[in-house]
Structures are given as structure tokens and as C-alpha cells.
Subunit: 348 residues, 3 copies
Amino acid sequence: MPAPIRISTLAARFGASAHGEDVLVVRVASLESAGPDALTFLANPRFKPLLESSAAGVVVVRATDAVGLRRPHVIAKDPYLFYAQAAQLLYPQRTANPGIHSSACVDPSARVSDAAEIGPNVVIGAGSVVGAGCIIMANSYVGARVELGDDVLLHPTVTLMDDCQIGSRVIVHPGAVLGGDGFGNAWAGDHWEKIPQVGRVVIGDDVEIGANTTIDRGALEDTVIGSGARIDNLIQIAHNVEIGAHTALAGCVGIAGSTKIGARCQIGGAAMISGHLEICDGAVVLGGTLVAKSIREPGAYGGPYPMQAHGDWVKNAAQLRHLGELAQRVKQLEKTMASLSVATGENE
Amino acid sequence: MPAPIRISTLAARFGASAHGEDVLVVRVASLESAGPDALTFLANPRFKPLLESSAAGVVVVRATDAVGLRRPHVIAKDPYLFYAQAAQLLYPQRTANPGIHSSACVDPSARVSDAAEIGPNVVIGAGSVVGAGCIIMANSYVGARVELGDDVLLHPTVTLMDDCQIGSRVIVHPGAVLGGDGFGNAWAGDHWEKIPQVGRVVIGDDVEIGANTTIDRGALEDTVIGSGARIDNLIQIAHNVEIGAHTALAGCVGIAGSTKIGARCQIGGAAMISGHLEICDGAVVLGGTLVAKSIREPGAYGGPYPMQAHGDWVKNAAQLRHLGELAQRVKQLEKTMASLSVATGENE
Amino acid sequence: MPAPIRISTLAARFGASAHGEDVLVVRVASLESAGPDALTFLANPRFKPLLESSAAGVVVVRATDAVGLRRPHVIAKDPYLFYAQAAQLLYPQRTANPGIHSSACVDPSARVSDAAEIGPNVVIGAGSVVGAGCIIMANSYVGARVELGDDVLLHPTVTLMDDCQIGSRVIVHPGAVLGGDGFGNAWAGDHWEKIPQVGRVVIGDDVEIGANTTIDRGALEDTVIGSGARIDNLIQIAHNVEIGAHTALAGCVGIAGSTKIGARCQIGGAAMISGHLEICDGAVVLGGTLVAKSIREPGAYGGPYPMQAHGDWVKNAAQLRHLGELAQRVKQLEKTMASLSVATGENE
């Protein structure tokens, strides 16, 4: 448990102002469940009725929500961001407990910083480099010629195949696989010939990669993830994909080979992006969208087929297969109508 | 191999009736491949022609399918359920072979029941509790302060991060990750700030979780899976999701953050459910459906876009983008038609 | 690094012809980045402008692209296939370094070839068989009664549950799980009863299986993957599925239980295929398609709902729910029109 912090200290640190009693907080919690030792926040106006009644020690609000508020509160420009920053202080990430566990297998040619922590059953291959402050947790595998910057956190059971280049302060969640072979096959008339995948996976600084996500090595060039990118769970990133800095991908997204996604994009959950496309900086793709052509202009793009009660959907789906005919029939009606209107003098 | 069982014993045990010779069975098999030592069943009427000819020792049928049947058979109200119960008896789940493998790393502060089995290379963190009859198979990782009830089965390479609370008789298949960080980020103008995820994963009793499925810990509150839920492979369950008792999720489903799914729901494969929704008890979501709004009434909901031959689909997809215009043109036709009808006296 | 090879040698070996200086190559690279020691190829006409200017040692082209080409080149019928074959020669797959790592746990009843390599922390169960030339990399788990042919490569952290039958020259990428229980449950009025999954997973020769993919064991019969099949990352293959020889499945595909897919099919990324279907030999399913009925004729099938700018999509989606009504209104217009035409003599 971290040491309690005064809300005046938090406010000063993150450019906000504290109002009312200068209470000590030790945790963060929701408006409903927060007790007197907890900081909470109001981001969603739906919860405004709970503002005064919440048992929280302090609540972080926008100036407009602070009018008449009698309880201890913090006024911040962006309460959600303030909460994130306060929580980081209250729940600091674990730091390395330097040393190599006796059950780990570290190749003699690997260079592991004395300030790194290598957990049980970890394997580190020939020529790899592990920077200061890195934590490689239990049962993770680091192949040959892998380079980790400083303060990288590999959660348990992470797999980094040969040649992965990882920046500093990267977090990889359990089960993620980086640097597996891309899906490259050439048809040889009666069977597939495997195409050796000789590119690497290159990850910038401050990237977070979710559980059981897979990022394939490049076929010829590298697969590249820009600094600050956020990649959720169960995401497939194929060979030669490039993802720009600070782009966020929600769970279950798939990105096919050689697609380039710009910086500061937001890709909603389960969106599926075809190969060899370009998505410009700042594009927002809604969850569940199938992206089959490039996006050249920033803005929001969507297209999930809407859910209906099953009976309605069955009727609709039947029509869906015949839209071309329906459009043809409307066109024919318009033509007939035009001649009819002439015949009856309707247009005169 | 289990001991052979007489079909009269099975029938008596599970509320059914045995007819014909009281044969011994030792296995279950399909109607096509069953031999004289096997029990099989008829659930799908399509296979009724095989009823008499199957070489099975006994076939389990509904009363209506038993009329005139001369071979040994069992009449059960629900043959599929009877088969499930008989198979459980014939193929009992492996029980713990108590002890801790010499290669396992168990924190001295963890409390592991003497009646639990801990396999090779397993890691168990500080303060964790493992109940009687638990089996933790090879290469699995159990973090700190994790609690497992009795008779939990963790297959190989399962990862339970800190603070997971697991009920009794839970089965977790290989590669599943429970308690990884939820996807919480606040935009700070030019980068994302990580939001520490301080909730837990709480799993009820008798839950089954599929291979490579990921269930994230809560942001503030817990992520909760109700007792008896069945969760298939490669499913993503985001932070703060709640899933009711006995709800079943088929493979490749994704559930975004804070969505609450009721009890006894059935969510078809690859259905994707947006965040902050509520799905009522007893809802059925068809496979491939994108659920972007709450479901308030039990019943079946669908909406996958229907497959077509590629050429037809290209024509249709072109129309799909212009449905608004098409509807507008129909409206215009109706207006013109109405005035025309007046002009020609058609409505009189 | 492999030994350099003359392009005349490569050409002779793979049925192509070398033209110009007989240079030595040691690597493959893209047209843009290749240096004088690299072989590159032109498959996409978009890159034709780079043909003469690329710094590559040699470029592989079709005869039609070779007209007037002054630089060293190879003329091949299928440059992409030639590149694949040349790359296999230049980057040969690692061969086994025979022996069992001291940290591996191999059951005394398992039969492991002296010519196999068993890595750190590998577990091999009772009665399993590992053929000559197999490489089982670190932290992988092989259950009981598993059989591996010769020259199988299990990357790190692969899980093969009991009874898996694996052919020769199979490659399994990290995190893949084969032989986990299928999703079988019978509803017992107020809870699910688990149905023991007693079938196996049977994999042919020369199959490649991607990272974090899951292939469930059969319920009664086996789940079967034909020889030469290519299965990408994060794919779910449910119990009793059968996949024909040389069929390729791109990333994020899901296949529900008991579906049978023929030989030489190509299933695009994120396609989702319902259970109990039959897909004939040679079918091509476009990425993102939901396949809810059997495919009886070879050819291409599609149906992903097209992406639009969000505003356009909102308008369209509103209409999508009312297609049945729209079709009804068009039908009514046609009827009225027909009677009007009669009234005005338009059709005479």
C-alpha cells in the first residue's frame, strides 16, 4: 500500500486546485464505492447526482460541476486525466528487484543489466540485451538478438522471438507473442511453399501490448509499432504492418499485412483492417468495422451492420441480398413515372 | 479406462429407462462409429436411419424414437443430457495427485492444500491460497494474493495475475490469461497516460474458461463471472464486465468494458458487444452479431450481413452505401404518384 | 548467415533462367531496400518503375517485364514462388541440436528420438512419441500419448494436450493450443453439464499453425487438419472441424463445431464460419465474411458490410433496419403504376 497523499499535493502536482478540507487519500475508487480514504472523479454527467452524497474523501470535478459543491473537491480541466495521474502516484508500477532467478536459462552471450529482474523459468537467447530496470516475469521467453531498452516490463508467459527490438518503458501483458513468423506462402501448383520471414518486430518507447496479442515479424522489412501506441488484448498485427505513434487499438482488432496506420488513430474493438491499406493520422474507426479501403481524411468511419430482433433481421436479410434488383425497380418506376407525367401533363 | 457400466445402472442413475439386453458399456461414440462396448444417442432426427443399424451397444433415444426399436436402448427425456451425464461417469475428470513438483516455485507465504497437485515449473506468488483437490498443471503462473477454491483445474500455461478470486470446480484451459490489466488510458494532449487497473477478476463456482481467452481485471470495481458460466476459446472480456450465472459465450466473442450480461444468456460465436451496455437475463445473441445497444427483452437477436457469391455482393455493396438516397427516391415517387392519382381520378 | 549463392545456380535449381552478370546473393530484400548482395523480385506491377534503379544484385521478373532490362535478372514463370524457394535456400530452417535440456521433464514412458532437441522447461507426458529431427522449444508442453512425426518444430510456449497426433514437418508457432476441450455443454434445466471431449486433434504433414491459435479436440470423433494446410494466428478451430489439404486460413478466422472445409480453400482474415456446414474444395471466402450456410460450388464468396464515413453510415444504418418496408413500398408503387398506366393508356 502506498503512503497517503494530501489532495493539495496532488492538485499542485497536476495543475489543478484543491477546495475544502485538505484530506489524505490512499486509493482511488468509483463514486458509489469510495470511502473517506479514496479519491474519485466525475467524468460522466450521468453520475452527477452522486457528487454530494458519495462517501469519497475527495471528488475531482470540472469547474462547471463544482458550483455550490460543499464537500472536499479538486477542480481539474480534465478530471479523468487527473484521476489517471493521481492513480499512477498512488499505485506506482512495481520496480525491478534486481537479479536472475536460479531457474532462469540465460545464454552466456546475452547482456543482462545488473539492475534487471529475471524471473523463474525465463529463457534468454544468444546475443540479447536487457536494459536497466527491466522486469522479465516467470515463464517468459526471449529469443536471440532481442534488445530491450530500460524499464521494460514483460509479464509472465510473454514470448519475444529472435531479433525483436523493444524500446524503453514498454509493457507486454501475459501470453503476447512478438516476432512469430508472418503468414507468407507462395502457391506452387499443388502445395504452399513457406516464405521465410526475415524482417523484425520493432517497438518504440512507452508502448503497451495486451494479453495474447500477436505481432508478426516482417517478411522482408520490419513490422513497426510507434512510440506511445496502446494495443489491447487478442489483437493480430500481421507482417510489415506499421502503426504510428500514440495510436490506440482496442481488443480483438485484426490488421492484415503491410497496412500502414498513422499516428494518433483510434481503432475500435473488433475492427478488421485489410492488407496493403493506408490509414491517415487521426482516423477513428468504430468498433466492428471492416476497413477494406484506405482512409485518406481524418474523421470517424463506421459500418457495423445493426443488430435487430431475430425475426426482423430475417426479413431484412432476405431483402439485403436483392438490393441491386430493388434499386433497378425504383429506377424503372422513375422512368415510367416520367413518361406518365408527360402523358398526363403533370409537369406542365 | 474406466470400469464398464451396465445400462440399467446408468438409466436408474439419471432418471431414464433401459430396454432390451442389459449390456455393459465402457465408452461413448457417434452412431456411425460406435461399437458394441459404446453408448451412443440420437438427438438430431437426421441420423434416425442409423438407429437400428448402428453397431453401438446401446442407443439413447426419446420415447417417440423408441417405437418399434428392437435393439438395446435407453429412453430419456433429453438424450443429449443423458449422454453428457453418462460420459462424465465413463470419463471422470482426473483427480489431484497431491504434491508439489520439485521444479515449482511456491512463495513461502502461499497456502497450498496438502491435497492439491502443483505441476512442473508452476509459479505461485505471495499470499495466494490453493484449495483441496486443485490441480495446477505445468508452466502455469499464479500471482500474488490469488485465491482458488477446491477442485480447481488449471490446465498447462494458464496465467492468473495478482488478486484473482476463483471459486470451486473451475476449469481454465491452456493459455487463458485472467487478471491482466484492463485497457485504460487517458489522453494527455500528446500522449496516453496509463490508468492503473486496481479492480480484480472474480470467478464463481463451476465456471469453465477456454484456451487463450483473456479476462481483464477491473479498473476500479471487479470484473465478475457468475457461477456456472461457460466461456469458450479466444474470448476477450474487458475490465468491469459482469457476466451472469450460467451464461454461455461461444468462441471469438469480444465484450467491451463495463458491459453487464445477465444470467442464462447465450452469446453466439464471434459476436462483439460494445461497452457500457446491459444485456438482460435469457437473451440469445446470434453468432457474428455486433451488439451496439442494450438488450432489454429476452429473445433472439441477430444481424450478421449475409454472405453472397462475390459478384452479387459487389453489386449489393454498391447499393448499400446509397440506401438513404434510395429511400428518398421512393418517397419522391410516392408523392408524385399521389398527385398523379389525383390528376387521373385513380383514387376515386 | 548462409553461404552466398550464384544466381545461375538458383535459376537452374528452380527452373528459371539467369541473365546478365552472374552475381552472388546472400539475402532477399524488397526492391527499395535491396543492396548488391540481395535478390529481390517484381510481383506487383506498381513497383515496375523501381526495376532498373533498384540497387539489388538481381531482380526476379516475368518474361514480359524483362524486355529491355539491362541489369542482372532472373526470368521466372512465377517470380513470387521463385523468391520463396530462393529464400528457403538462403535462410534454411534451423535443424535440431539433439539432446534434452536438463530442466525438461520427460516422462520415462515417453519415447524421444535421440535426434530430437528438447528445450528448457519442456514437459512431455506419458506414452508420447517424438520423432527424429523434432525441435521442442522452451516452455512448451506436450501431454500424454501425443505423437509427433519427424522434423516437427514446436516454437516456445506451445501446448499440445493429450492424444494429439501430429504429422511430420509440422510447424507450430508460440502460444498455440492444440487438443484443449471442445465447447460441449448440455443444458440441465438450471445449469450446464460438461460433455467430456473424447476425440483427438489429428494434424497431417507439412502443416503450419500460427501463434495463439486454438484447435480443440473432438467431442466424439477427431478434429482433423489435412496435410499442407496453412493456419495463421489467433484462429479458433472448434471440435470436430475438418480442414482439407492445402487449405489456407488467414488471421482471426473462427470455425464453429463440426464444419467441414474442403481442400485448397482460402479463407480470408476474420471470416467466421458457423457450425455443421460444408465448404467445398476450392472455395474462396473473402475476409470478414460471415458464412452461415454451406458452400457447394467453388468460387469467391463475400459479404462484409462496407465501411463509410460515420455520418453516412448512421443514415444508412437507419434505412437498413427498414428494408422490408422499403421493398413493400416499391411493390405498392409498382401496383399503383400498373393500374395508372392502364388508366392513362400508357401501356397501349
